[in-house]
């Protein structure tokens, strides 16, 4: 018996797999990025099926809304190169071998029903909590320490990014000095020179 939930699950996950494949198979980088957006949205929908609505929305806000938008800007600014030709890809046999190995490993694990046997299904909860409240509660009590550490981590990332990109003020940089402009008087700027007119010469 296939329930409606199963229908949703299989259609969403097949679209997720298809769009993820498209990310690496499509030649044009902008389209690849758009397919990545699609796969993020599909993953978010999968999470929604698991009743993890907060994570699902965060995925859309952060990845689709912020990161991928930035990514698209960067890709659009770079000159589009058609460098992804199959002929140049020398490592293909090795990659195929690795792929086959990993796939067989995956099927081996599936056969032993280790992943499917312990499939996660949302527990039937009748609590008054919502998911977001629960995450917030655990984040600021039990996991307050790692949460603070992530704050420091972000600070480090910011400092490092500034250190690597800031090269100091250039010597020949042009800029206004407002003070100097305001303080300027006629005497500094204007010089009166007596030039005899041509008529007087003669």
């Amino acid at each position: 018996m296939i329930s409606l939930l199963d229908c949703f699950f299989y259609s969403i996950s097949s679209m997720l797999v298809a769009s993820s494949l498209a990310v690496i198979l499509v030649r044009h980088p902008v389209r690849a990025a758009l397919f990545l957006v699609l796969s993020f949205v599909m993953a978010a929908m999968l999470w929604m099926l698991l009743e993890a609505e907060f994570l699902s929305l965060v995925l859309i806000f952060v990845y689709v809304g912020a990161i991928m938008t930035l990514f698209l800007f960067v890709i659009m600014m770079l000159p589009a190169e058609e460098s992804l030709s199959w002929k140049k890809w020398r490592g293909f046999p090795f990659a195929l071998l690795l792929f086959a190995l990993l796939l067989s490993l995956l099927f081996y694990m599936l056969k032993h029903s280790l992943l499917l046997g312990a499939s996660a299904s949302p527990a039937d909860t009748t609590s008054t909590y919502t998911n977001t409240q629960a995450i917030g509660h655990i984040l600021y009590t039990q996991y307050a320490l790692p949460f603070e550490m992530i704050g420091i981590l972000l600070l480090v990332a910011m400092v490092a990014a500034i250190m690597l990109t800031f090269r100091g003020r250039r010597v020949d940089a042009k800029g206004q000095c407002i003070n100097k402009q305001v303080r300027a008087s006629k005497q500094d700027q204007l010089k009166l020179v007596n030039i005899p007119s041509e008529g007087e010469k003669g």
Partner: protein
Amino acid sequence: MWIPEGIVLLAAIIILLTGLRLKNAKLLAGLARFSLLLTMLATILIKTYSWKHHLDTLISELWFMDHIAFVMKLTIEITAWFVLGLGVHYTQHEDIGSGEYYALTLFAVLGMLIVASAAHFMVLFVGLELFSLAIYALVASQCHISIGIEAAIKYFVTGALASGLLLYGISLIYGATGQLAFVPLMQDLGVIANGHSLLISFGVICILVGVAFKLGVAPFHMWVPDIYEGAPLSVMLWIATTAKIAAFAILVRLLWNVLAPLGSIWQPLVQFLALLSILVGNTAAIAQSNFQRMLAYSSIAHMGYLLLAVQLNTESAWSVALFYMLSYVIGTLTAVAVILLLQHKHAHIKQINDLCGLHQRHPWLAFILLLAMFSLAGVPPLLGFMAKWQIVQMLIEQQQIGYAITAMLLTIVGAYYYLRIIKVIYFDDLQPLDPAKPNIYPPALLAVQPTASIMAALCGGSLLFLGIFPAQLLQFCLQVF
């Protein structure tokens, strides 16, 4: 409980802010080192306090306060203090000693301290990322030199891959057991140790690969030589000593505090990693002409010996591994300290041949370098010999005579490249750098640096002293686990 970490964080932020105006690298480094001294003091005080009042070694499932945490923290702080002190002149000279540089080093120390007492996967991973991120940026601190940028990008990409694998392994274990905190997880794993599923063993393998990347053991070593060569010397010293201790702390936490019941899964893998690292490190180092690349391969080989002790997975074996780690760190610190002292503005020492005739110019520095090389090679009566001897003794006690013989044979191979440096220092003649300027020789002092010289001498002396009287240190290591 978090006083040492708090001091480091506070100092990092103060240095970051004062570094905006203050451009004096010496003063900033002094501030950083002073804060590290305070941190050491705080670590010791907290340890004695909690020992006296019999406080719990575990705080809210997130934070260990045990002997391992104490020892790891103290060694990280002391080596960081030495690394900063030795690198002051170099950073000033290379113009990388800005406020951000010292702030990032302190942030890296903070990450390492967090890792050392992590009792939860979340804390461990965030600490690991904290110190990795700071070191990626430090490698690229000479952003006008392309080799430095190349090294930083390689380090960043491989490091990100390693973190991803580690995280994947953690998620698999979490999926199988539903536990993230180390203490309950270890109990659970002890119960299911015999009938463990493939999911768990897959997770263990992923975790092991991630840690092996961080530790730089073969076959996950490809990044090590490039980063050692490309990074500024002071940062390279940082990666070779303090970061290695932190990686060892991660190894202890993961393999000893979590995955010890699953030894049957990871012990054969660690044996393979150990033997391959010893083989690759010792043979590839022979072909190197660059001093930093040679040290990189040497570190790979040393991590192999360390893992040879780790794979035994007994309390005394872990203690011996700690002892070996200390001997490696002191030896490397001494060797790089001498090279740091010798950087001259006309001549960077990059190649081994740049050290020709060092004995004639600076006999004391030559002697200190000789001690370091003999110790790393494992020549009695130095500390490196005692460490190798302990490992071999442990292997023979556990009936792993084949491993002991292989390790010792490869040590003889490895002795070649250490002895070659000694030959270059003592038996080769001085060669002028440039035929046009016959009075400038490569091994020249950067500047007279009394403190750094004393520190280098202290490291070299401790190699000799601890080699002759190792009992105290060994006893100390045995009490940790």
